[in-house]
Symmetry: C2
Subunit: 109 residues, 2 copies
Amino acid sequence: MATNTFLGEFEQMVLLAILQRGENANALEIRRELEASANRKVTKGAFYTTLDRLEKKDYLTWEARPAEKGRGGLPQRHFKVTPEGIAELQKSRDALIRLWRGLDRVLES
Amino acid sequence: MATNTFLGEFEQMVLLAILQRGENANALEIRRELEASANRKVTKGAFYTTLDRLEKKDYLTWEARPAEKGRGGLPQRHFKVTPEGIAELQKSRDALIRLWRGLDRVLES
DNA sequence: CCTTTCGGTCTACAATGTATACCATCAGAG
DNA sequence: CTCTGATGGTATACATTGTAGACCGAAAGG
């Protein structure tokens, strides 16, 4: 795989949303986080496709959790970002922080 | 064309690099900024293609400047981010800042 | 001349982003 | 029991972005 691969912007947001939800990172919560923080409508297709691709690149993993909730008896997927995923997030973040430097006047408000 | 369009991650970096270079935002300088800040190799094809697309979306404009430099007598393109471009950058930045919130321990190192 | 550098264009293809149509399971209404 | 509405997913297809590489002309420098 290309050593020089970068996270797409949506991929990045999905990973961050998973981190934000931590122990509660199931599909529903992650979507809510995205819609709230990124102010962005997320369809199921877009969402699960991206999740699958991130898994294939080893940036996330998941495990099935028996639904403790009275609601549906269905197990839920609980997502986690891998160390590789974290490393990618750091790379993107570092680059952006450097590029934003000094532009506060322009980019704020 | 989606009404809900977002800046790609490379597009975003190109716009930021233009802002960083300000009055010196010609092709060479912008590429240097990208390679330095994003630590990323940028081929001409990738670079100009992205520039063209950003122009088509009205996120940047440019004007030809007679080369005042003794170097080549060639005019240079001087790039500028439009207000629309700035607005997009702000949107992305706001979303990321919200998504990074509280994750410093994880994302710093 | 010849070579290198700057500054670009064109073409093609890979990777990401996104919507829509389906599907199965379970809970509750009737 | 049957119908219906979540919940949670999958499959498919297509649009948008990301990226490389070949090719081009002008001019500087040896």
